[in-house]
Point group: D2
Chain length 162, copies 4
Amino acid sequence: MRKKIVGVMGPGDKATEVDVQHAYRLGELIAQQGWILLTGGRKSGVMDAVNKGAKSANGLTIGILPTDHQKDISEAVDIAIFTDMGNARNNINVLSSDVIIACGMGAGTVSEVALALKANKQVILLNNDAESKIFFKKLSPENVHVVESVSEAIAIVQKILI
Amino acid sequence: MRKKIVGVMGPGDKATEVDVQHAYRLGELIAQQGWILLTGGRKSGVMDAVNKGAKSANGLTIGILPTDHQKDISEAVDIAIFTDMGNARNNINVLSSDVIIACGMGAGTVSEVALALKANKQVILLNNDAESKIFFKKLSPENVHVVESVSEAIAIVQKILI
Amino acid sequence: MRKKIVGVMGPGDKATEVDVQHAYRLGELIAQQGWILLTGGRKSGVMDAVNKGAKSANGLTIGILPTDHQKDISEAVDIAIFTDMGNARNNINVLSSDVIIACGMGAGTVSEVALALKANKQVILLNNDAESKIFFKKLSPENVHVVESVSEAIAIVQKILI
Amino acid sequence: MRKKIVGVMGPGDKATEVDVQHAYRLGELIAQQGWILLTGGRKSGVMDAVNKGAKSANGLTIGILPTDHQKDISEAVDIAIFTDMGNARNNINVLSSDVIIACGMGAGTVSEVALALKANKQVILLNNDAESKIFFKKLSPENVHVVESVSEAIAIVQKILI
């Protein structure tokens, strides 16, 4: 049986303080559940924080990098997959995750949520932006889950992964 | 001097009647301006209609296909680029277009608009969905242009391509 | 009916003088036959020379770029497809060509010939390296054609494209 | 410190009996060294055998799949990365490996060795095909290592990874 992979997507440089806090806590809880964490792997914002959270709880972390080199990788990534395909790698991020949590929102995150829905994946939105919730909930009422807390996000992942 | 490329993105099977009418007319006008048309190339919805419109006005049409085979290609595509990379090809669509028109909206189109904005491209939204307009206009106030008609879309493309 | 596309692959910086002369002449003849030329699009070696040859005979030229920016593009490319996926774009080069001519040989060219054979495409080897001929002819006796001159290469393309 | 990743490439359906035996033994030894195994992930030939070998020694195995679905995956893959990009994923295979072992040879393997050399990676050839050895050794005398046994391959990996 392959292990379950939870993808956490979210902004890099433009992540808010709250996004980063959420991300770190998500990482801890994902690791404690025995799930593997998958992110875009960069040393920035949500990606970096969630990887650090997962490693603080001895989780296993995979980073799908947009580049082919060693720069700008979160030090908390255990396994670096080098795609050298820029943001086209966003599709790999979502296809390789059993479920996706969007922690905050930026243009890259929007593309990941959309590609996940296109692939008929379940997506959990954890953030405070009313427009995103309304927009994605209308785009895919069945596959989009809007949550208000990290623990609520984890509870939904548990249900989806059973 | 390389010719200018206008990308038209939009839903396939889920395109509305209005989306398809808009798309055909967009194709005609793009061809009349001497621009090259670029789409996702499939024989469906907006992609098929805009290619047909462009060919009716003797334009040149490029299709960036998600597959590696001859099925499901719009017959109005002159040049088929076979990526065999599914929706990851959406990033190629937008990177290869000098400007992008989103004609209608579906999950694939959302990913293309988001990837275009991530790549700092100008995007014109031509559709009737209030949530999309509000969402994308907030995501990128400077690079998103909301229009109500095909002729308005073309007028903005003209300004951008000068 | 879509136009026929001939892909010409070959080394960039490491192209020999003979490779470059062959490439320019190939471009002229491909354009004269009414075929579209497809290359990796860079301003270097075989890619640049074959595009120049094609434009000298008023052909149409497509470049599948490894990058997402305007640098290092052959000025003789009419249509630039920006993949931003480095050498993974080599697979797109061969999938999008109806037949492939390898003009000279380098590591990138080897990958393109191999990917073309994997996709069951016909490949014409135009070069002077005995090891390449022996190696690829053994790898795929039916799909590899070894030629000694540009005109012989074009004659084989004609047969394949009928 | 990220763990070291050893990529093992080789034919699927066309793998010889010897290729498969080599692959299984390679997997065992890679796992025993504490290295992570990376392959193309399919349930076939060298890919399947090396993953099984690694799991028999409690290794960690990553499969970079060409598809987006659950079919044709080696059951001995722990972490499946779904690229949905066909053979373009071969570039990801080699970019993500610290060193590459080619166990046997087919068109896909040739593309991987070539892309690895293009990316300036060290490649170890473990097989019995004289033409491959001569061809690749000429293509890149410094980065290609020809070996005659599994243990010799592992010894070279050890030197490279120090």
